[in-house]
């Protein structure tokens, strides 16, 4: 492994801009790293080496011609396979889209290209972003670089593993119920769910449209902020995009102080179901915040314990509607079209073969929750709970500036442990779901190890207060790195590199 792959995105951008290294050299180092370790990690679904090097050379040519480069020009990024890309397949981890080449780029894909970022490839994910482990991918499970027998979280588990394994300094994800923050937490990296509407959904294959939020992964808070800034902002192609300036996240990540800030500990996110090691690291992180000058108080959000059941009514309901577009008619898989069957029969056969078990479960659950006779008792009630959770957030943020909790109740669990137990799998998102239901921004930053596995600290802020989660996250990161003498990821075991 060359030293280049250990560098942060901010460092790489500066080295490329100053000419100390080239984008092509940086791209080659990461391609070599992918070739050496991805056989074990399985973070990537598609990598096109020639395409990667061509993107990098284009950045080098722009620099040679005297063009001013942005802070991330020439920096590699791993892109979740849920974003459409014209030049790479896009599958969302599903058999039903195997081999599909979209005719257009997602807005976020286009903005990565415009910023000069080099897209290394597309990363593995739970099918249609439904899951917390990548075990629901139709194309094999991704392995956690800290312990290859464990999951890397999900749904954006390919993206978290790629960054934790030094295959990429940055990656993209989408967070519908925790799909960025939970994988970041269990792989010891930084992951951010921006304010809903702050990052465009255009060209993101839809799971639950009122919840889906693209966001960044990185090894440092500053790097996450740089990527956040590069791809965020208003998009007229997304009718729920916020037409407001992007919060000053990079400035906040550099500021990194919490003196005088009021921090609320969510009382409901503790107790049974939280691993002792997770609770211990969380308690230490709260003490750390206090020692840095924050004022810590306990806050009650009484309806947060109903967020998980409400989410598992709302998200499947939206999914059952969104996934109706996979009808075997215009693109994707078509099964059983032998001239004797009707369109409806072909549709049902294709969907039965093309979707995996979790996707089928959620489509059926959503169809049930929206059925006449059940609508008021389930979907309607969940929407009322959503209002109450929003009120909990609002009253909490009258008392404090940010809320904190563990990101997820446990460290990375073994592959296979929860694969056929949907309810156990759903619990991984217990602490992350409230912010999805209300649109609030939240970050997960590493806060230590429990039994040798990473633990994440979640920091939540009011809507459009994205800068605040970066400011607090960066303060925690700086203090902990001082204490540890380096980043948490330095504690991860070295992966054996395959011979070339």
């Amino acid at each position: 492994m060359t030293e280049l792959v250990r560098k942060t995105a901010a460092e790489l951008g500066a080295l490329i801009a100053s000419g100390e290294t080239s984008a092509a050299e940086v791209a080659q180092a990461h391609l070599d790293r992918i070739a050496a370790v991805d056989g074990q990690v399985n973070a990537f679904l598609h990598v096109d080496r020639d395409n990667v090097l061509a993107q990098a050379r284009a950045v080098d040519e722009r620099r040679a011609s005297g063009a001013a480069l942005g802070p991330l020009a020439g920096v590699p990024v791993a892109h979740k396979d849920v974003f459409t890309t014209r030049d790479l397949p896009t599958t969302a981890g599903s058999r039903i889209l195997e081999g599909w080449r979209p005719p257009y780029d997602a807005t976020i894909t286009r903005r990565l290209r415009d910023a000069g970022l080099v897209i290394l490839g597309k990363t593995n994910m739970d099918e249609f972003a439904m899951g917390s482990s990548t075990e629901n991918s139709a194309f094999g499970t991704t392995h956690n670089p800290w312990d290859l027998t464990r999951v890397p979280g999900g749904s954006s588990g390919g993206s978290s593993a790629a960054v934790a394994a030094y295959e990429a300094p940055l990656s993209t994800g989408t967070d519908t119920g925790g799909s960025i923050r939970q994988p970041a937490a269990v792989t010891g990296i930084v992951g951010v769910k921006p304010t809903y509407g702050g990052s465009s959904r255009y060209g993101v294959i839809a799971f639950a449209s009122s919840l889906d939020t693209p966001g960044p992964f990185a090894r440092t808070v500053l790097d996450a902020a740089l990527l956040h800034e590069a791809f965020s902002g208003h998009d007229e192609m997304d009718s729920t995009s916020i037409d407001r300036p992007v919060p000053p996240v990079v400035e906040a990540a550099r500021r990194a102080d919490v003196a005088g800030l009021r921090v609320g500990v969510v009382k409901e996110f503790a107790g049974d179901g939280y691993e002792p090691g997770v609770s211990a690291r969380f308690a230490e992180a709260v003490e750390l915040l206090e020692s840095l000058g924050a004022k810590v108080v306990e806050v009650s959000c009484p309806h947060f314990s109903y967020a998980l059941p409400a989410y598992y009514l709302i998200a499947p309901s939206e999914a059952s509607s969104n996934l109706a577009r996979f009808d075997a008619m215009r693109y994707g898989l078509r099964v059983g079209d032998d001239g004797t069957r009707s369109a409806e029969e072909v549709m049902a056969l294709t969907r039965a073969e093309g979707f995996g078990p979790e996707v089928k479960r959620r489509i059926m659950l959503g169809t049930y929750a929206l059925s006449s006779g059940y609508y008021d008792a389930y979907y309607g009630k969940a929407q009322q709970v959503r209002t109450l959770i929003n009120r909990d957030f609002e009253s909490a943020f009258e008392q404090v500036d940010v809320l904190v909790s563990p990101t997820t109740p446990t460290t990375a669990f073994p592959i296979g442990e929860r694969a056929d137990d949907p309810m156990a799998m759903y619990l991984a998102d217990l602490c992350t779901i409230p912010s999805n239901l209300t649109g609030n921004p939240a970050i997960s930053v590493p806060c230590g190890l429990a039994d040798g596995l990473p633990v994440g600290l979640q920091i939540m802020a009011p809507v459009l207060g994205d800068d605040r989660v970066y400011r607090v996250g960066a303060a925690v990161e700086r203090a902990l790195e001082d204490r540890w003498g380096g980043p948490l990821l330095a504690e991860a075991p070295e992966l054996a590199e395959a011979a070339k």
Binding site: Y196, L313, G332, A343, A352
Partner: protein, 116 residues
């Protein structure tokens, strides 16, 4: 926590909301969902859906009389963009990923003379 409350309330589980989900009901949901599922899959799903629905039914414990529903995190309504002509996909691009195409059209299985 969540799963401890699953199926512990025992309230009205007979055809009412919150009632046990039957295999026939699952078969009906599969039809509505356009999923041609086999017998094994239906049986497995019936058990799992019953467990999940019992758990999510916890939302019914919340006192939410007179609480307005929230469908969306942002209070946005009727967002339009300007009605301008702009470049769009050529027919060949739109048809490039079609399972079957003919001329400038998607070729689909028969849709007429179907039984309901």
């Amino acid at each position: 926590m969540f799963d401890e409350h699953a199926a512990s309330d025992g309230s009205g589980r007979d055809g009412e909301p919150g009632g046990a989900i039957t295999r026939d009901e699952v078969a009906h949901l599969a039809r509505l969902s356009r999923l041609a599922l086999g017998d094994d899959e239906l049986g497995h799903l019936a058990a799992q859906l019953d467990q999940i629905i019992s758990a999510v039914a916890r939302v019914q414990e919340v006192a939410a009389e007179d609480i307005p529903p929230t469908s969306h995190a942002l209070p946005l309504t009727n967002v339009y963009r300007a009605d301008e002509v702009r470049p769009s996909l050529a027919p060949e691009q739109a048809l490039a990923a079609a399972p079957a195409a003919e001329g400038q059209r998607f070729r689909v299985p028969r849709i007429l003379d179907e039984e309901a």
